[in-house]
């Protein structure tokens, strides 16, 4: 059990940290576009389309990492006042709603991706580059956060039973 939980945490940490460096690529790409348009009157045809692809992937892929770090902010005014078992119950409510939502996202996301793949969908810009890889990344991102949510809810359940915070 501990091994599974640690593996899931490791996956979220690794994927989030790796994806986080993409921000530097995004910065350079956008600045390149500004310079080539403003100083050389030669706007690129690819910079904006690929900014959308890079940051779209970034947004969906960092969800699991944020969850790992408990970064999805909660109002904890009532929560803090309760004993540990009640808090575990609130955690279970939080994660089960999250799991409900993200499993729908995974299931519908797969259909969404397959529809796009079926017609080899492209974007509406001059280059008409494919759009389906981003829809695949959507499925990947929501699967990662779902996995992290399952790990979190397992920890909360064990905490509820044992009455003390479960360390692993």
């Amino acid at each position: 059990m501990k091994k599974i939980l640690r593996t899931i945490d490791g996956v979220s940490k690794w994927s989030g940290e790796t994806v986080s460096y993409v921000i530097y690529v995004g910065i350079l790409m956008l600045v390149y576009e500004v310079i080539s348009r403003y100083f050389f009157q030669a706007p690129t045809v690819w910079a904006h389309g690929y900014t959308q692809r890079i940051f779209g992937s970034y947004f969906i892929l960092v969800g699991a990492y944020t969850l790992l770090l408990n970064g999805h902010v909660r109002v904890d005014i009532l929560y803090r006042e309760f004993p540990i078992r009640i808090r575990a119950l609130f955690d279970i409510l939080n994660y089960s709603l999250m799991i409900l939502w993200t499993s729908v996202l995974v299931k519908e996301g797969i259909t969404f991706f397959l529809n796009s793949w079926g017609i080899r969908e492209t974007d509406e810009m001059a280059l008409a580059h494919p759009i389906y890889p981003i829809k695949f990344i959507l499925v990947l991102g929501v699967s990662l956060i779902l996995l992290q949510g399952l790990s979190k809810i397992a920890v909360s359940c064990i905490t509820l039973i044992k009455g003390e915070i479960y360390e692993y």
């Binding site: 940290e17 921000i23 956008l30 959308q52 969800g63 990492y65 109002v75 999250m98 939502w101 993200t102």
Partner: protein, 436 residues
């Protein structure tokens, strides 16, 4: 009872219950969207939940969110902000209450580089609390000035909330920024005037500095504001002169901060790594709220909820001005419980068509909507910024923090009323600038 009322009460009612029970806003929004879709349409009606997520992923404008978050994180990790505070500290000099006035100015300058409140409040608190404590400033003055000037982080451009307001309404981000600049700077000046009057009446609240820095020291300290000026100019200049789009301006600003950090010799692999990681986790929080809201709003709108509320508001036989006041009151009230981003995504689709349909200026409405969010952000008992203040000084009681921000909330509400009654205050700058 009509189905739309049931839908509205059901969805918004369960949202409030979930939030009070400590469910993350993103997950509450997403799950309520799923459950409502299942009740109304069954499993076949779930597709809008995922298309909504994709629409936000594909929104070029939203790339500005992580970039502005990045600027805030990078500034807080480097010593740029700390050095800038020294300049404000020395120049605030022997004036009574000067340090609190300087802190307000510092927070406003920081707000002109970052896009959200948490960055400006926490950074201001870290550098400004120790010197104010050392001068025996009254706690109410310390937390009031830091918290309230920090909350203007989302009003003074660049602002993530104004970007999302622009995205939702299709209005020019440049004009919204210009309006936010006037409103934000105006409110900061009022804060400063209040602090000066208060410390003149009650000198024991904020004693003047004992030592007097020489003119040479003061002039030397000005060097430390050179970099912040470059950063602010690279963001706002490239935007206001029409060189760059908001997204591009945020990347220019991010590069400017990086270059400043490199020039100061503070850039290390550790810095680059930690800045990237922290940016990712904050961005994840903001964007996933949007993903949740996308599904929630799609399902609510699909069930006829938005149309229903708009009709109800239009049919209210009241003076249009009264209606705007009521809607502003609702935003203020929600601001005490919900994250600003959540309020924009939930309320703007309901309110904006009605307000613009009544003939009010859309830029003006965007700015006063955002100002109301700012006020909600710091209003006791639940305003988010109060908890940031508490985290800066865990030993201070929540009651002291509440008391400290109340006069500042009063000033902000008075300014909001002024801006509502005299729209020209907000609009003179946006209307006199040329945006392409």
């Amino acid at each position: 009872m009509s189905i739309e009322i049931l839908l509205t009460v059901g969805m918004f009612g369960s949202l409030i219950v979930c939030i009070m029970a400590g469910v993350s806003l993103a997950f509450a929004l997403g799950a309520i969207g799923v459950i409502s879709a299942l009740i109304m349409y069954g499993p076949l009606g779930l597709m809008p939940i995922v298309t909504g997520v994709f629409n936000y992923m594909w929104m070029l404008l939203l790339a500005a969110v992580p970039l502005f978050v990045f600027i805030g994180v990078a500034l807080s990790k480097s010593k740029i902000a700390e050095d800038m505070f020294d300049a404000f500290y020395l120049w605030s000099g022997r004036l009574r209450g000067g340090l609190a006035v300087g802190t307000c100015g510092f927070a406003a300058a920081l707000a002109a580089m970052t896009g959200n409140c948490s960055a400006s409040t926490v950074t201001t608190g870290l550098v400004a609390i120790p010197p104010m404590r050392k001068r025996n400033y009254d706690e109410a003055m310390i937390f009031g000035s830091i918290g309230s000037a920090g909350t203007l982080g989302i009003l003074i451009p660049p602002s993530i909330t104004l970007i999302v307001i622009g995205m939702m309404t299709g209005q020019s981000i440049g004009k919204l920024f210009a309006g936010g600049l006037v409103a934000g700077v105006g409110i900061v000046i009022l804060f400063m005037i209040y602090i000066l009057i208060r410390s003149w009446l009650q000198p024991e609240l904020c004693p003047a500095l004992e030592e007097s820095p020489t003119l040479k020291e003061k002039v030397l300290a000005l060097r430390s504001i050179a970099m912040p000026i470059v950063i602010i100019f690279s963001i706002l200049g490239s935007l206001f002169f029409g060189i760059a789009t908001p997204t591009e301006a945020s990347s220019v600003g991010a590069l400017a901060v990086l270059l400043c950090v490199i020039a100061r010799g503070e850039c290390s692999l550790k810095f680059l790594r930690e800045t990237a990681h922290q940016t990712a986790s904050i961005t994840g929080m903001v964007l996933w709220i949007m993903f949740g809201a996308a599904g929630f709003v799609a399902i609510y709108s699909g069930g006829g909820g938005i149309y229903f509320i708009q009709n109800m508001l239009m049919e209210l036989d009241v003076n249009p001005w009264l209606l705007v006041f009521i809607l502003q009151g609702a935003v203020l009230l929600l601001g005490m419980f919900l994250d600003p981003m959540g309020i924009i995504l939930l309320c703007l689709p309901l309110f904006y068509p009605v307000v613009s349909g009544l003939g009010f200026d859309p830029i003006w409405y965007g700015v006063i909507f955002n100002t109301a969010l700012c006020i909600g952000y710091i209003t006791p008992p639940f305003g988010y910024n109060l908890f940031y203040l508490k985290s800066l000084s865990p030993s201070t009681s929540m009651k002291t923090i509440y008391k400290s921000v109340i006069p500042f909330c009063g000033i902000m509400i008075a300014s909001l009323l002024l801006m509502m009654i005299f729209p020209e205050i907000v609009l003179w700058l946006p209307n006199n600038m040329n945006f392409n």
